[in-house]
Symmetry: C2
Subunit: 374 residues, 2 copies
């Protein structure tokens, strides 16, 4: 079990520290995604320098390669990937649904073929928790089922039932692990009453934290925010709240306003590999020819190596030339941008100026996106 | 002009400092290759941390993308790529011959099509030097012609004649550039008398340093060493001697024994991207399944981040998974290995124990290669 220490609140938003034996997690927190044992194009020390307190590991990818038992024999995921601070692992359920073919899902679990080599694998609530325990994960997620968007109410109702039964089995399989936490996942899509029912079931079981799953899967942002408006107030105040797989900077600011504490998303890392940069004046596409002779840095206010040492012209060049350093620099920059965004949100909550801070972030973000498409 | 300060010698080998306005180059020196404005998978600060005093830039790649005039407008290659220490640039001739199609070579220069977009370009001795001046290169190489191996004596004789006339035009085009050097390139293949004739021509023109070109292009190592045995003693003692495009660790040790001061090669960087690591006990292929559960570092004596923070098992995993961090870590390691090799050679020369040091390096290198292939 790990403890959330709330230090200040501003409306529904809160800032504080999630205390774990491997170090404090300042909330609201953004967790860079370290899919297969690496935050892509980054060394662990550099991830830490961006300001990250915790990274996410993907159970699905790691169970297939190199395998959870192998990582356990090598001393666990922290040692393996060179990140000694907290790690949260997902349960693998979402990736099984989105990345694999020939799935067979029943009450017991889900049978699927690896997207890497076609080999057959089985994931049950018990196995998902066993894998996460073998990895040595600090925050372990229950196995849930997340139907693709849009789902009918009937589909979602069935799914919520299965997710609750799986949550119970997951929690039992997690057992008692000193200094580690097990989070439940609220499902129910955009149906507020199903979300409430899902949460009731989870609270009856009892978890160390509560995640909101199944959002940012294709629904409009307004639908996501409506769902948070209906769901977050029902979540226990003294437990961390984690919005899974979210999101763009303005998704995050909106969710922080509504009381979410934790986020993860591949956006800063994946965008970085695709030549996209987030800046305080909005996103930039470095492939754009207008950067070819621009001696200015990406973002004058940024402290990352890409902004301290290189021009937009250089970044344009290395993106166009397919140089690995382009992925390295833009990933580092984007993760710095995300961590600085979270730091600003934490400061704004502590100083009771969150609404104004979010407005200013959103305006800048919208303004430059227009400029970029001209 | 830049000055070579020889500090110690051991047989034909020498160690010293090549003084340049942008910093000292400790010789014998290995220059990492920064083809298109980036030492692939490395940030400039990390290149420096490996111990590199100078990097090589490729005129051919940079003239095509982003273009020499553009780099000049952006303040020169040093500023552009974030490397403020010395840069040596080749003349582009070798890449035109090895990478392009539809070449047309005559007395004037060579017309070719870009391997990137098929666009037509022309490189003459004058243009090659103009590009290097625009880049702001500290050590500029004359445009030479290097026929493919094996060449007949007649072909090589013709080529040496052209190379000498181009060297004269290159030197004239270089003119006088404060604090910058222009190197001539000795050609002649494996024909000792042609090498001597080529060098005579170059010395009549007068250069700040002398390169041996056209080796490591497919000939056996013994032929390369024989050519060095015949050629290096003829080179002026007080000028730096640069063996272009070489090589493997045992090529380098053999060439240092014979009096070479400078080297460049893509081997440490390219091998790193391909999952190959050089170690004090010989090369390793990290793809090999025998590393899958090995908790040991690549090389216990190595100071690089790959060896300080990760196991062979992790490196095997990230290589197999195609993670960018594999290229980053193995490149960093290999460049560190090369720089430590050069440091050991410099120390061994200063302490008059080079022959023993080279024997010990060569034995370790040969031994482990056998182990690896078992």
């Amino acid at each position: 079990m790990i403890a959330l220490q709330i230090e200040a609140a501003d409306g529904a938003a809160r800032t504080g520290i999630l205390k774990t034996p491997r170090g404090d997690i300042r909330t609201p927190a953004f967790m860079p995604v370290g899919t297969a044992g690496s935050v892509k194009a980054m060394l662990p020390q550099s991830v830490r320098e961006t300001g990250a307190d915790v990274v996410l590991g993907n159970t699905y990818h790691l169970m297939l390669r190199p395998g959870a038992e192998r990582i356990a024999r090598l001393g666990g995921l922290h040692t393996f990937m060179g990140w000694e601070r907290p790690i949260l692992t997902d349960s693998g359920g979402y990736q099984v649904m989105s990345l694999t073919k020939l799935r067979k899902l029943d009450e017991d679990g889900v049978r699927f073929r690896s997207h890497i080599d076609g080999s057959e694998h089985f994931l049950s609530p018990e196995r998902a928790m066993e894998i996460q325990r073998l990895l040595g994960s600090d925050i372990q997620m229950v196995l849930d089922e997340c139907p693709p968007f849009p789902a009918t109410r009937a589909q979602m109702e069935t799914s919520v039932g299965l997710t609750e039964r799986w949550a119970k089995r997951s929690r039992a399989a997690f057992g008692a692990q000193d200094g580690r936490a097990c989070f439940g996942i609220v499902q129910g899509g955009v149906f507020a009453d199903l979300r409430a029912r899902s949460l009731d079931g989870l609270q009856a079981i009892g978890f160390d934290g509560y995640a909101v799953g199944g959002l940012a899967v294709g629904e409009p942002q307004a639908a996501m925010f409506e769902t948070l408006d209906a769901t977050v107030p029902l979540l226990p105040r003294d437990r961390p709240r984690y919005l899974m797989g979210v999101g763009k900077p303005d998704d995050i600011t909106g969710a922080v306003l509504r009381g979410i504490d934790m986020f993860d998303c591949v956006m800063p890392t994946r965008s970085g590999r695709n030549g996209q940069a987030f800046t305080r004046r909005g996103p930039l596409n470095l492939r754009n020819a207008r950067h070819a002779e621009d001696p200015a840095p990406l973002d004058e206010a940024c402290r990352c190596p890409a902004c301290r040492g290189f021009s937009r012209a250089y970044l344009h060049h290395v993106v166009k030339a397919g140089e690995i350093v382009a992925a390295m620099l833009l990933t580092w920059h984007n993760l710095t941008y995300y961590q600085d965004l979270m730091a600003e949100l934490r400061a704004a909550i502590a100083e009771r100026r969150l609404a104004a801070a979010v407005r200013s972030i959103a305006q800048a973000y919208a303004r430059k996106e227009e400029a970029e498409t001209n």
